[in-house]
Amino acid sequence: MEILVCVKNVPDTGEEEIELDGNDLDYDELTYVVNEWDNYAVEEAIQIADKVGGNVTVITVGNEDADEVLRREMAMGAGNAIHLEDEAFEKSDAKGVATILKAAVDKGKYDLILTGAQADAGYGAVGGMLAAMLDYPYASLVNKIEVGSGKLTVGREIEGGNTEMNEIELPCVLSIQTGINEPRYVGIKGIKQVSGVDIPKFAASDLGLDESSVGEEGAIVKRQDYFIPEAGEGAEMLEGSDDEIIAKLIEILKANGGL
């Protein structure tokens, strides 16, 4: 099985507070990591290839910094990587990203394409769009995959912890939900081993893409700014020394049937 996994380089927001520089992110304060969902997708692809044979290729649309993400996923066990990089790709909306990926998919031959269920911008869109462009069937939020002949049985996570089981024909596109597996740990040593690997790069012209269909020019959905909403009717913040805060909290717990 030839498996393509789409991965995205995203700002790490787990630890630090997000800093704004005017109405944009303070990019100097950001560190980048691979999108959480994409690690699960790569792990799943590797496990499928291990089981039924085949190859795993990771692909990204991104600037030169995204190279690191591709190498990290290769260190996990993806055999090949493709980097789609062009100034013309910058400020693509989700449809633009899907258009670029579609052009790259057309140059290869894949049985299964995986994406994350969502990434930093939260559209959860690239996989479903790519599938529709390719006329492949799609299933989102997949948390279970069983390989059959010419088809897969997949579980989709739906509300309330329920799983919707489907049969889907290959080739297809699936978006992967967290928790489907336990992504393997990648150590410094693994990253070092792939640091010298030559990763092929393709620009718009290599993909036969009309530049006006992607990037800022092609975007029909455009982010205008970033902002932190006013606290508004938010929480009443408990202030004071640690002891005072805990004393207040205990009063609140008692008053509300908590103690």
């Binding site: 927001t13 309330g160 959905v221 509300n256």
Partner: protein
């Protein structure tokens, strides 16, 4: 002016509460009239219920639509909406499945998980949404000259009042070819048994801020200190990491809870998590003063939970 549609989800003849929110959202985008789309097999009850909030209801009744398989529903919806339409859906696992592909097939803009609507200026729709797991907000402009597919975060807008009384139009004959390469098999529900967090009066709920598996013990000790009315629950990353069992997860893909007090410890406050908390007061402890949980909580404490939880446990034990 574009025509406005809302895809209305339903079960057992009852439409989802979010239908009224979709009607209100369409109005906020300048719609004079909004048409509901109700698909399924034997959907007369749901279709007439949708008339309560919409000016017209398109009913698509077909055995192939008995279960809402997004790949099949998409074809039916694409077949009945004219080019350039705006189609609204409630942002959930069905909309995530159908929306992106529908936007491609109808050549429309796709805007997911909208949390606020600023209005329409010519063919530019202005909305608010969040990025980075809800940690930051953005204004987004979309060109809807060719229509749009928009998913609306549940609870983001006030629901519209009912009493509209829209008539049902049967569009079943226009659905066209409903064959698909994805077939629905069944819905599997998780096994019952084990811990039941829905009965607890106090939930000591931990998120990724707990940092390490060993620190789960801190939450267990706090629970012990509070006593038998308390239980430990968590956000999704804790379950994904297999640090706690799935039955303890609060949220749209986990359990819905109504404790007296919900202690959110190191939880950022994603809408999927908050979607599982349906009552009681929320007390949030987070080291980030801008964490979205402080918008939803009743009381907030800016602190490091790894220090705060043991300190609180000690004080409660001293009572």
């Amino acid at each position: 002016m574009a025509q406005f549609f809302a895809y209305v989800q339903h079960a057992d003849g009852v439409i989802e509460d979010t239908a009224a929110e979709l009607a209100a959202a369409a109005k906020a985008m300048g719609a004079d009239s909004v048409t509901a789309i109700v698909t399924g097999s034997g959907v007369d009850a749901a279709a007439s219920a949708a008339g309560e909030f919409f000016n017209e209801v398109y009913k698509i009744d077909n055995a192939d639509l008995a279960y809402p398989n997004a790949e099949v529903v998409r074809k039916a919806v694409a077949a009945v909406v004219p080019a350039g339409s705006v189609v609204l859906m409630s942002h959930g696992t069905f909309a995530m499945d159908m929306g992106p592909g529908l936007s491609i097939k109808t050549n429309a803009a796709y805007i997911a998980d909208v949390t606020g609507i600023d209005g329409v200026d010519g063919t530019t729709l202005k909305v608010v949404r969040t990025e980075l797991g809800g940690n930051i907000s953005t204004h987004v402009n979309a060109d809807i000259a060719n229509g749009a597919v928009i998913t609306l975060r549940p609870g983001a807008v006030e629901p519209a009042a009912g009493g509209v009384g829209g008539a049902v139009a049967d569009k079943s004959g226009e659905a066209g070819d409903l064959s698909a390469k994805r077939k629905f098999i069944e819905v599997v529900t998780p096994e019952a048994g084990g811990v039941d967090i829905t009965k607890a009066e106090v939930l000591v709920s931990i998120g990724r801020g707990i940092e390490e598996e060993d620190n789960i013990e801190l939450a267990m000790e706090l629970k012990e200190a509070i006593g038998s009315k308390a239980e430990v629950s968590c956000s999704r990353p804790i379950v994904d990491a297999k640090w706690l069992e799935p039955a303890r997860q609060v949220g749209t893909s986990g359990k819905t809870v109504k404790p007296n007090v919900y202690l959110a410890l190191g939880i950022s406050g994603s809408f999927q998590h908050l979607g599982g908390i349906k009552g009681g007061i929320i007390i949030a402890v987070n080291k980030n003063p801008n964490a979205p949980i402080f918008q939803a909580a009743d009381y907030g404490i800016e602190a490091d939970i790894l220090e705060f939880i043991p300190a609180l446990t000690e004080k409660i034990n001293d009572l």
